[in-house]
């Protein structure tokens, strides 16, 4: 049994395997398939101050080795989360982390402040990289100033571990990473989805209601690995890597590129039990390769 425990800010995780926001519901959707308690952490769906209906159907299109989505942050708002969902989550042994989104820095900060009051939520992940909403979302994540403004506001309102989720739709992701690090982020997670499109040539229309969507799945893994590698070299805070992870080997690729922890997203749709296999697989791989502690291989490339 290799030592897989890692730290992100003040947060100790039993292993580096988390689930990605928007691909794992509130975790509760998966309790028939896996033991939530075994996860390093699970990040619940994008939450905003006020409820949102999200975008119209169709919201999804399959692509080569991946998918596009334009869900657009459908959620019942942070108060609903605090009242209805939190009580169902708080007794799991794994950390629940809330993915926070908004339209203005104040919005984000207010939402974060409400989550801060939830004793058993030790961290939030700030989503400044959603490509599927007009206001906020990716608009902040694609410039240093925008990213910094949100992180600054939230940092003032949120005392616990603050993870900032970065957009890959930028020229230089390490620059954005440094900007959010400078504003006090405890960690960065990357990548969110890449903005893409898919066309129905018979109907002469996009397959997605809003025209474009966010690309995820194994097709984006090469881009995600490159960005994780770049960012890990650029910042001192721990990096959480994701994008196309389907199995333990993929996870280890990210770790070797500099990720301290990883998230599993789209793979949950293909195999709802995949996270357990990844945890077991990482452990086996370490054992077979004489890796006693996962920190031995973080960033070896």
């Amino acid at each position: 049994m290799a030592q897989l425990a890692i730290n992100i800010g003040n947060l100790s995780l039993r292993n580096p395997v988390m689930t990605a926001s928007g691909t794992f519901g509130y975790g509760l959707e998966f309790t028939d398939f896996i033991d939530l308690n075994r996860l390093g952490a699970y990040i619940v769906k994008g939450t905003t101050l006020l409820p949102r209906q999200g975008n119209d159907y169709p919201r999804m299109a399959e692509t080569a080795s991946g998918m596009l989505n334009c869900v657009g942050l459908q959620n019942k708002g942070v108060d609903y989360f605090c009242k209805e969902i939190y009580p169902q989550l708080k007794d799991f042994k794994s950390h629940a982390i809330v993915n926070v989104s908004g339209s203005t820095p104040e919005d984000y900060a207010e939402c974060a402040a409400r989550v801060a009051e939830l004793e058993k939520i030790p961290a939030i992940e700030l989503n400044i990289s959603c490509p599927n909403v007009h206001d906020g979302g990716m608009a902040f994540g694609v410039s240093c100033a925008g990213a910094a403004s949100v992180v600054k506001a939230v940092r003032a309102a949120y005392p616990k571990t603050l993870i900032v989720k970065l957009s890959p739709n930028v020229t230089d992701i390490s620059e954005i990473a440094r900007a959010v690090e400078a504003e006090g982020a405890d960690s960065v997670s990357l990548i969110n989805t890449l903005m893409g499109m898919s066309v129905d040539i018979e109907r002469r229309k996009s397959n997605l209601s809003i025209g474009t969507g966010g690309l995820s799945g194994p097709c984006v893994k090469p881009i995600a690995l490159r960005m994780v590698h770049q960012v890990a070299k650029a910042v001192k805070i721990p990096v959480i890597g994701l994008g196309g992870i389907m199995n333990a080997e993929d996870a280890i690729e990210f770790i070797m590129c500099g990720a301290t922890a990883i998230q599993v997203g789209t793979a949950n749709f293909i195999d709802p039990a995949v996270t357990m296999k990844i945890i077991d697989g990482m452990n086996d791989w370490c054992d077979q390769h004489g890796v006693k502690n996962i920190y031995e291989i973080i960033g070896v490339i």
Binding site: G22, T23, F24, G25, E29, F30, D32, F33, K45, Q53, G54, D56, Y57, P58, R59, M60, A61, E62, T63, A64, S65, G66, M67, N69, V71, Q74, G217, T266, N268, F269, I270, D271, P272, A273
Partner: protein, 260 residues
Amino acid sequence: MKKYVKKLCVKNVEFLREDYILLRLSDPHDTLPEMLPGQFVQIAVEGSPATFLRRPISINFVDKEKNEFDLLIHAVGDGTRALTRLQEGNTLSCIYPLGNGFRIPPIDEGKKKFLLVGGGVGTAPMLLYGQCLKAAGHEPTFLLGGRSRRDILELERFENIGRTFVTTEDAGMGEKGFVTHHSIWQTETFDSVATCGPKPMMMAVGRMARARQTECFVSLENLMACGVGACLCCVEKTVKGNVCVCTEGPVFNINDLTWE
């Protein structure tokens, strides 16, 4: 209801037409869970490079004694075509049973008459619904529509369960026209109507039912990624806002939908 992700075993692949198969599955190790009509299975398709996500397929028929169940699959694209290449003895990863089923009222509320209207591969859930209604003591009547005779599948199985009427657009079988043109709508009344098939057909059936002040349930086939309520991709606009078809459906009371 508890959901499972399991490797099921292919017991039989029967071609009903060159592009339709009846796929018989079984769990070699456990008793199959209870499956309700309208519920579906998310199938992982192997050996099809173009198919990344699972494919949702309705449960068509359940044989509890043999611990087997059937899926009726129409090969319309790469994923479903790959499923037609399955062979007896292959294993198939399935997440199931998913979604909510059609309602089966307790018989002590009174025996009820149901009209189950299916078009194309939308007949698939109707067979199991009829099977369950009959087992519960109700009276299912089937109305199946197609362009021509060759679109009417599993006819004998339907007839084994209840009266079965057919419409075809070319008059090759049953009455000529669409399902909504069938004379049964004029000659009989039903306590409940259920339908699955192409959206225009379901909308037309809904209008027929509404005109008769009969409740009407539809089974939707929205595009799905996860099938378990995690991705929010499969939403349908309802009077309560956007809801997930995979968890709050696929069966909906047509009054709850915002179809004009």
